[in-house]
Each structure stands twice: as C-alpha cells, then as structure tokens.
Symmetry: C2
Subunit: 342 residues, 2 copies
C-alpha cells in the first residue's frame, strides 16, 4: 500500500508533517509518497533516519494556503501539492492521499481528479466528534461539502457513515441517527422527514431522529445531517470547548489555591484535553470520492498526520469504497435506483 | 403591572414556583397572579409571609405536563393553567405570563389567544446562550418554533432579537449575526443568502454571517437562525456542557488528589457552573406574540421563575412589542411591505 502525503499545505510547515509521515511508514510498514518541494523535503529528510525503501518524493512546485479561495486557487496553481497528490491517486501511483489544511481545495482537487464512487449523488466530509467517553467518537457527516441537500444525500450519508464506523472503528453494526429538532417523527423539516421515513426501511441500524445532545452520549455512532447544519454543530462544539477551557484557565490563574488545586487535578485535565484533542481523531475523510482522501487540520501536528495516515490505511485496506458502492446498490439507494423512493 | 405565573406546569411542583413568584413580587414591587389549583396554592401560601396586596389567585383546574403532545393537550384541557394564564393576558387582566415547561403548549396557548404583533410573519422563541464571559449572553433565535423558514422570518428574527437585547440587556445598538457555515457571503444556503443580503441593507448593527463558535466569544449579542438549526445548536451546547461536566466529575471521583484539588478549585467550578446555569438567564421569551410570554424550563427553580418574571417585567415596561412593530415598519420588513424585497 502506498499513501501520498501533502507535506506543504500545513500551517506548521513541512518538518512536522514529514515527521508524522515517517512515523506512520515505520509503525504501519506502508509506503509513503512525500509530496511537495523536493529540495525542502530532501533537506529535512537528511536530519531523520528512516527506511528508504518505504519513502519516496514527488515534486510539487506550488502550495495552496488555508486562506485561499478553493476553486480560484486550484485553477491558478496546477502544480499545487494537493493537486499533485490527488493526481497520484488518479494515476494509480498511490492508494490514498492525506492533506492538511484547506478543506475546500482538497475537496475540489479530489472531486475533479477522482470523481465519485459509483452510485453516489454527492460526496460528504465526515468528522469524528468527541463524546463523554474517552476514545469513543460520533461520526458527524456532512460537515460542510453540501450546504443544501436532498433526501438521497442524507440517506447516502447514513450508508457512508456506517461504512466508515464499520471499517475504521471495527463496529459490527454501527448505530446511525438523523440530527433533528426533536425525537418524534413529526419533528424536522420536509427534507429530514423524507430521509427519516426512507432510512427506517433500510437494513441499517437506524435509531431515528436524534438531538444535538445525543452527539455526546454514545446513543449513536453516526450522526447524519446536511453540510450547513453539520458545520454549525461542529463549530459550536469547538466554540463551547474553547469557552469552557478559557473560563477554567482564567479561574485557575486568579488564585493561588486554584493553581495548587489545578496541579493536583492535572490527570483529570489531561484526560479532558485528550477527549477534546483533534490530533487523535485521524482527520476528516471525504467519503463518496472515488479514491481515499483525508483532510486534517491546517495546524496538524505530526501526531494528527500519523493518525490521518492510519485512517487512510484502514479505509484502503478494507476497500471502504467497494463496501459503500455495494451497500447503496443492495439497499436500493444509489442514484440509479433512487427513483423508486420518489 | 401585573404578571400571571402558571405555577402548576413545572416538574418540581407548585411550592418552588410560588416561592419564586412571591420573591419577584417583593423584589420588583409588581402584582402577581398565581394561576393553578386554588386549594393547593392557598395551602402553600399559608406557609409564607408576603404582601397580600400584590398577590392574587386565579383558579385553573387542569395541567399540561412536559410529556404531552402540545396541540392535542390544548384541545383536551381547556382549563389548563397555561391556557388560563394566556387568557388573562388576552382579557387585559395581566400584562404578561410566565409558564415553566412544555414549550410547544405554551407557544400554542399564546399564539391562539394573543395572536401576533402587527406585521410579524412568524413568532420565534429566543434563548440566551452562555458565552465565555460570566454574565454575558448571546440571544439565539429561533430555537424551535419554525423548523422551516423564509427570508422574511430570519430578517424579522434579527429585528426582534435586537429589540430584546436592547430592552432587556440595555444595549444601545446590539450586534446581530446570521448563523452560517462560514463567514464569507458566498457561504450559506439560498435562504440565508437572501436574508444576509437584506439584513445588510437595514439600519441594524448587522455584522454578517457568523459561525457556531461565535456564539461564545461575544462577537455578537444576537445570533439569528431558523428553528431547526437553533434547536440543534442549543441542544449541542447543552450536550457539550453536560459531557464536560461528567468527564470532570468522573475524573475527580477517581483519585484522592483530584478530590483535594477540586476542593481547592471550588470557586473556579462555581464560576463555571454559574456561566452554565439556566436559572440565571430569565427564560425564553416568545417574541412576536402580541402579549409578553416567557417559557422557563420544566425543572425551573424559584430562582429561574424569579428571573423569568424579571424579564417579563422588563419587556412589558419597555413596550418591546411596540418597538418591534415600529422597527418592522420603519425598516420596511413587516409582512405588509415585504413585497419590495421579493
């Protein structure tokens, strides 16, 4: 297996990303293609020891930054590291690619070069959200690729989310819920009501409507929503976590006793930090793209890249896209047989 | 001023609610009508000392519980305390009413009996959400009355939210934002894009699109969204807060040192609890209803009822509904002159 890693697009610079990629090669014994400025990559590699059989370099002369408008940047920079990475997958020279940073640009690069899994109407971005149980996540999708959805999209997101939870988390029969403004079937919008009634008829482990709080209590493994709602929910979680962190920090700073107390509580805070730590999640896969693609945060650490590569590795190893394609067909919810539901 | 308080619909029983109502009468020197079973109310009043000139009782023989389906319950129980309370406002026998519990039933009771403020297309439920700054909130609306909205609704929610922040929080020129999946004008849905472009033309202090995290960082005073999104965002905040609380609690219980540390950090945790404490917010006003109506939590404490009455008192005193009606007309966004935007 060979995974391409865009080591240029991160905000911390290539050193951190290369470090994570080399670790992943060693830990999972997989081939890695480092994509970016070959002079910079070679310079950094000199300072590391690694198995040369597992690492190769593919040059890319340009970089798309976090701040650039995705479609404009993609047109302006044909040799950008994210595009070169996507083309490696397209040309069969890599099985997957991992890119930190500009989600829109990565999505566009992947969509243009790799297209969609057969039967998929629209690909989605999945992000694992923390729950109250350390090490357990709820997969939320879509978190931004599709601000406006149709019922087929929500239904397909459910199938893709379940495939992710099955292949990456090893869950036999993942529980799937549809985010809504209440649990009763009478709640929701025209969009969610249609999707809810179809999902109930599929052989998925579908629990029905769930509410915002159910993201955290392990009621489901997969929470489905449109990209507008998903993005808002995700940013709300980030914002709530940051606000609580700041309130605690300000409080701890304010008195000697609180500082001492915080020291004694250090293991508890470390645990809390670990629950909230994005680096552990393994990035956001672009599901429904015909080629495994993972976006990690712009500020990705070596650890986050390592985990992103781990997830890419799992998705390739388990042929998640074949699973998705076959399930869509089996359930009668691919775009070719969807007309039956309309 | 006279405020009706439904003392039967809360989950903690009438004792707690009557206590809050008596306190409010004393603190704000206003007349209170206690609505509910007169025998129970009289029995409880015997055990309190209070200014008899300020307190009266209106009998209601029925109660709608939290679990009942709102419209069915309203039909089945014409003498429910929440309906009797709404009718007191309709008949001019009270200036406002406060009810703990079933939001749907309260909304239906208010809507049916009081109707809408002139020019309002749809009323909305506003809920103050906590921010990272103790004592500062962001007003989020709508949080559930309107799962599907049109641009006129979002625009009117912005005007109503600003009127609330002005009258209840005393802000001269409240900052208003529209929740979206990104800050750029190109983001959002057809609905939010239309509302965003209209809001930019109004003489409101409109900052444009905001993201989920901006609810907590005091970037705005009012966050506008449809009721589907608002309900999800609000429940997500609740869920995130509860998850963090449980993680901290489990961690503290797990070791002697953590317990000692937590004791030393008690003022910090109390501050955190206070930020998250619903009892301080003053309930959720139903804005756009032609008669001041406040819903508080089903599990309302005396303190929450007291604060709900305080907010009702402010909304009546400042004639918030006249302000809303006049602003809608002045801005050209009431339902009679909306056609200009279409």
């Amino acid at each position: 297996m060979k995974i391409a890693v865009d080591v240029m697009s991160g905000e911390r610079g290539p050193e951190e990303l290369i470090k994570g990629a080399l670790e992943a090669a060693a830990v999972y014994n997989i081939n890695i293609v480092l994509v970016g400025d070959k002079n910079i990559i070679n310079y950094i590699l000199q300072r590391h020891t690694y198995n040369k059989d597992l690492i190769e370099i593919v040059h890319a002369s340009e970089v798309i930054t976090m701040k650039e408008q995705p479609t404009a940047a993609i047109k302006k920079k044909p040799d950008a590291s994210v595009l070169v990475s996507a083309r490696l997958v397209k040309d069969g020279l890599a099985d997957a690619f991992v890119s930190p940073g500009n989600t829109g640009a990565t999505f566009a690069a992947a969509f243009m070069n790799l297209g969609r899994v057969k039967g998929i109407s629209r690909p989605a971005i999945l992000t694992p959200a923390p729950t109250r149980t350390l090490g357990q996540y709820t997969a939320v999708l879509d978190v931004g690729a599709n601000p406006e959805c149709k019922p087929i999209n929500l239904v397909q997101f459910a199938v893709m989310g379940a495939a992710y939870a099955h292949t990456v988390w090893g869950l036999e029969n993942p529980k799937v819920g549809l985010l809504s403004n209440g649990e009763e079937d009478s709640k929701g919008t025209e969009l969610t009501q249609k999707a809810n009634s179809i999902l109930k008829k599929l052989p998925l482990n579908y629990v029905g409507y769930i509410e915002g709080r159910d993201i955290f209590n392990n009621k489901v493994d997969v929470a489905v929503c449109d990209g507008f709602v998903g993005n808002l929910v995700l940013k709300t979680i980030e914002g709530a976590g940051l606000a609580l962190y700041n309130i605690l920090k300000d409080g701890i700073k304010s008195s000697f006793w609180a500082k001492m107390g915080a020291l004694m509580m250090l293991p508890v805070f470390k645990r809390l930090k670990k629950v909230m730590d994005y680096a552990e999640y393994g990035g956001a896969p672009l599901l429904g793209i015909n080629g495994i693609t993972i976006v990690t945060h712009g500020s990705s650490s070596a650890r986050e890249i390592l985990n992103g590569i781990r997830v890419a590795h799992e998705l390739v190893r388990t042929n998640v896209n074949d699973i998705i394609m076959n399930k869509l067909k089996e359930y009668g919810v691919n775009k070719f047989n969807w007309f039956k539901w309309e």
